[in-house]
């Protein structure tokens, strides 16, 4: 059968009701400062990995909170744990511990 190039696109809409919040809950429980973000983007601006790849710690955190966790393991592997994001965060979020807890959550909650 000839493939005409049509496919069913997955919607881009965040479907809050049907998303998976287990990772977000795990991180919030172990590092409550995860919730304090105001989305300023200074973490991404200073991020060594973001300079070289499409890694974006601000967006990563946001998508976890929206329950959008597909491909999270590959994303988090880009982080080098240098901790510069923690130096610049205006809300004093323990970003390194957030990253560590994302890794732990992935091992605990999911085999993604």
């Amino acid at each position: 059968m000839k493939d005409w190039g049509y496919s069913i696109l997955k919607g881009r809409q965040i479907d809050f009701e049907n998303n998976d919040f287990s990772i977000a809950e795990y991180i919030t429980k172990h590092e409550p400062s995860f919730r304090w973000c105001i989305g300023c983007g200074s973490c991404t601006a200073t991020c060594s990995a973001a300079r070289l790849t499409d890694f974006n710690p601000r967006k990563l955190k946001l998508l976890i909170q929206r329950g959008e966790i597909k491909g999270l393991a590959d994303e988090i592997a880009k982080c080098m744990l240098c901790g510069k994001c923690q130096l610049v965060c205006p809300r004093g979020i323990n970003t390194r511990n957030v990253i560590q807890n994302i890794k732990r959550a992935l091992n605990t909650c999911h085999a993604l």
Partner: protein, 358 residues
């Protein structure tokens, strides 16, 4: 007792009018306050607690009524002013019942009106039973009763929508109503205090935490109470079969559209000028701001004076202000009024002396 025979009429017995009346009374002037409702206090009477420290509105109301120990003003309620007309160097204030007052100077403190959220039909106010305004919620909070939605159930997920009727050319108001941001944060915390298990989300375009301890309250909302803030203007709300509400927005920080269900949606409706204020302003040939509030003579150095000498303005009839700012503004206006009265009295006397000498 009044030490000065000059007569000041204050139109509006809300926070601005009462604060100004007590300052002018203390300074020895004869003051009349005209209040259109049956009771003074304005919208403070509706409000339960004030941001950012959750003080009971009664405390401010008590402060205002305690200001009248020396030389109390004459307060007339159910007195609806329709026009202010200059007359023989004075001002004539006409009431809807035909009464009239003469004043050497007039202070307009007629306050604001809540933006009619029905105009934003896409949000379904007065269409969907569980869409309410910040005023409706405040009235509910003031009763002290548990928060319930229409069906008598406890809401599990609640949304606050910022900038309803503000910063929106489609609503006719491009200005910022300023106090709704912090009101949204305050009310979100109050809901979490009463319903710790509820999830609260605030949808905002910008959060303008301009006042003292506002930013601190915003941080507290996130850190202590777990309120979630989503940056994005809600495009529409639709009702589900079970009367819950489906809301659509863009989660702008992830760049993706989002849809969520809520049990209760609170619209943070902005401030608009009272239609009556506009009528009074027109009768006295006052100028208006682009948002149709009463305009001060100069945006930096004389915000309380108007283009009509002897007519002053204070509080939210001239721009959206918080209660604290309104009181400060009222006090500032009284200083300008007193200097104007003194200068006017002197020049009036001088002209009399000149006439005697001629």
């Amino acid at each position: 007792m009044a030490i000065n025979s000059q007569h000041i009429v204050i139109i509006g017995g809300g926070p601005a009018g009462l604060e100004a009346a007590s300052c002018l009374g203390t300074a020895g002037y004869r003051v009349t306050v005209l209040e259109k409702e049956k009771q003074t206090g304005g919208k403070l009477l509706i409000w339960d607690k004030l941001f950012p420290e959750f003080r009971n509105s009664d405390k401010v109301l008590n402060h205002l009524s305690n200001g009248f120990k020396t030389n109390p003003p004459q307060i007339l309620t159910n007195a609806e002013v329709v026009s202010v007309i200059p007359e023989n160097g004075q001002h004539r204030i006409n009431l809807s019942d035909g009464q009239a007052f003469q004043a050497d100077t007039v202070l307009i403190t007629t306050g604001f009106k809540l933006y009619n959220a029905e105009k934003k039909e896409e949000y379904g106010y007065q269409i969907y039973e569980n869409v309410i305004t910040s005023f409706d919620l405040e009235k509910q909070l003031k009763t002290g009763n548990p928060i319930r939605i229409e069906a008598g159930l406890t809401p599990r997920r609640i949304a606050f929508i910022h900038c309803v009727g503000s910063r929106d050319i489609k609503s006719g108001n491009i200005y910022c109503s300023r106090t709704c941001c912090i009101t949204g944060v305050k009310q979100a915390i109050e809901i979490k205090r009463r319903l710790p298990d509820a999830e609260v989300f605030n949808f905002y375009m910008d959060l303008r935490m301009f006042g003292q301890n506002f930013e601190e309250l915003y941080i507290e909302a996130q850190q202590k109470w777990g309120v979630t803030f989503i940056r994005g203007r809600v495009s529409e709300i639709a009702e589900n079969k079970d009367n819950s509400l489906q809301l659509k927005a863009e989660d702008t920080l992830s760049g993706r559209p989002i849809k969520m269900s809520f049990d209760l949606v609170v619209l943070l409706a902005g401030m608009v000028p009272e239609p009556r204020t506009v009528e009074i302003g027109k009768s006295a040939a006052l100028e208006f701001t682009s948002g149709n509030f009463l305009a001060g003579l100069d945006s930096h150095i004389s915000q309380n004076e108007t283009n009509t000498p002897g007519i002053f303005i204070a509080g939210t009839c001239r721009e959206p202000l918080s209660v604290a700012e309104t009181l400060t503004d009222a006090r500032a206006a009284t200083v300008k009024m007193i200097s104007w009265l003194r200068e006017n009295e002197t020049s009036h006397k001088k002209s009399l002396i000149k006439r005697d000498n001629d």
